[in-house]
């Protein structure tokens, strides 16, 4: 980092770039005890609940990954989309785009999808229940997360594999091999935009009140959402909705396998499913940090933070901060303060009603139908930092 932070020598250091680094390690907990903030190779890491909460909505901070493509020396289709989509925007432009998108993500519209979530979850469980085992990622969370997006877009479930593959190829852009993978990434981006254009053409011909219909209406009835911005938003919903939900539900199952009494409790009291989603996201958020950048120099907690400094707000370590969660153990029946698994402030996840709705439904049905889930082979994990989760999660269970 070229920016020098005053007082930095006094701060603990965390090497988040080390492949063996774990955001749930003792080292992070010790750093959190010692200081509100740690140095890392990529800037600062904010560790405590109260500071994450305050900095998520600090007026001197903006979302911090907007420069990711140019940082990697990348231009092209993906880069153009990334730099212009909602998450990369701030201020008036962000507010305008968010206002235009809100109706498509409203709880009323999403509530209407609930029966589809139920149907989808049951259909997937039916496919493996009798076998008494499955790879929970390949056979449940991935088709479920993608199937939900198909429902949202009005696509038949059969499209899920294609959509998941496109999203996975686009997702390579978030990795260290961004530049090497650019041809694959831009080809996937082209295909996802083709999809979006097709969906828009359909709704223009036949207006409707569904997700795409609401966005098409904002484009047609106001001068506040251009044709390009309309497509960019649809692409963001596909890109932002699949891996997140797949990983978060995998983390939920892994957490419950480690806490069989909690799974049994959920099975007996399915009305706890909503609280269970929140509790999983507190102890095991898939997005373990969100990134912010200082738009001007400011002082926080007696520390001068120079303009351009990158801050990682650690939702993971905030969610286990002992000053707010004195009894941090996984307990779906406990009353808890809110977690930061959906971020917060102006960029708070726009898809959270969808994600909360579909994950609640999934956990409710799974806990009814799969009893005593246990690991059944080697679990393969993404690194335990950044966006995390299981890649394969073989489980065995007793079918109810």
């Amino acid at each position: 980092m070229s920016h020098t932070v005053l007082n930095a020598e006094a701060m603990p250091y965390l090497d988040v770039s080390d492949p063996a680094f774990s955001i749930r390690s003792e080292a992070v907990a010790d750093a959190r005890d010692a200081s509100w903030c740690a140095r890392t190779p990529y800037g600062l890491a904010v560790l405590r609940y109260d500071d994450v909460q305050k900095l998520l909505r600090h007026p001197k901070l903006r979302q911090g990954s907007y420069r990711w493509p140019s940082h990697n020396g990348v231009t092209g289709l993906f880069a153009r989309w990334w730099e212009n989509m909602l998450l990369s925007q701030e201020g008036d432009t962000h507010a305008r785009l968010r206002r235009m998108a809100n109706p498509a993500f409203s709880p009323k519209l999403i509530g209407a999808l609930q029966p589809k979530f139920t149907e989808l979850a049951n259909m997937l469980i039916d496919r493996f229940a009798d076998r008494g085992e499955c790879d929970f990622i390949a056979e449940f969370t991935e088709p479920y997360a993608t199937g939900v997006i198909c429902d949202l877009l009005g696509l038949p479930f059969e499209k899920w594999r294609e959509l998941a593959d496109i999203a996975a190829d686009m997702g390579l852009a978030l990795g260290v091999t961004f530049k090497q993978d650019l041809t694959t990434i831009d080809a996937a981006t082209r295909r996802i935009f083709d999809y979006a254009e097709e969906l828009v053409a359909l709704r223009r011909a036949e207006p409707s009140d569904d997700f795409i219909g609401m966005l098409v209406r904002a484009n047609a009835e106001t001068d506040q959402l251009s044709d390009q911005e309309l497509l960019d938003m649809i692409v963001l919903a596909i890109f932002g909705g699949i891996d997140t939900t797949r990983n978060q539900l995998g983390l939920a199952m892994a957490t419950f396998v480690e806490h069989p009494d909690q799974w049994a409790l959920l099975g007996e009291q399915p009305e706890l499913a909503r609280a269970a989603v929140e509790e999983v996201m507190r102890v095991r958020p898939t997005i373990t940090w969100v990134t912010r950048e200082a738009t001007e120099t400011f002082t926080y907690n007696d520390t001068e933070i120079p303009q351009g400094t990158t801050l990682h707000l650690f939702s993971q370590s905030a969610g286990s901060d002992p000053s707010v969660f004195p009894e941090p153990g996984f307990d779906i029946a406990a009353a808890r303060k809110p977690h930061f698994g959906f971020g917060g402030g102006a960029h708070h996840c726009l898809g959270h009603f969808i994600a909360r709705g579909d994950m609640t439904e999934a956990l409710k049905l799974l806990s009814q139908r799969l009893k005593n889930p246990r690991f059944n082979g080697e679990v393969k994990w993404l690194p335990d930092s950044g966006n995390t989760g299981a890649i394969t999660l073989p489980i065995a269970f007793d079918a109810a």
Partner: protein, 61 residues
């Protein structure tokens, strides 16, 4: 129309300020302020804000 915000639930995301800037704003200390009895003409905006609030803290009567 009357607007109340459950300040126990509110986490100051400011989504209401984005959705309905004529009703909701932040004061200089970062606290949420709002027009408690806005004109009926702002009902659509108020409802958009209530829908957009991640904590569902806004009640319109």
């Amino acid at each position: 129309m009357k607007i109340t915000v459950d300040m126990e639930a509110c986490l100051l995301h400011g989504q209401c300020v984005i959705a309905a800037p004529e009703i909701f704003s932040f004061d200089d200390d970062g606290g949420l302020v709002w027009v408690a009895a806005p004109d009926e003409g702002l009902r659509d905006d108020a409802e958009a804000a209530a829908d957009a609030c991640p904590e569902q803290a806004i009640v319109i009567a």
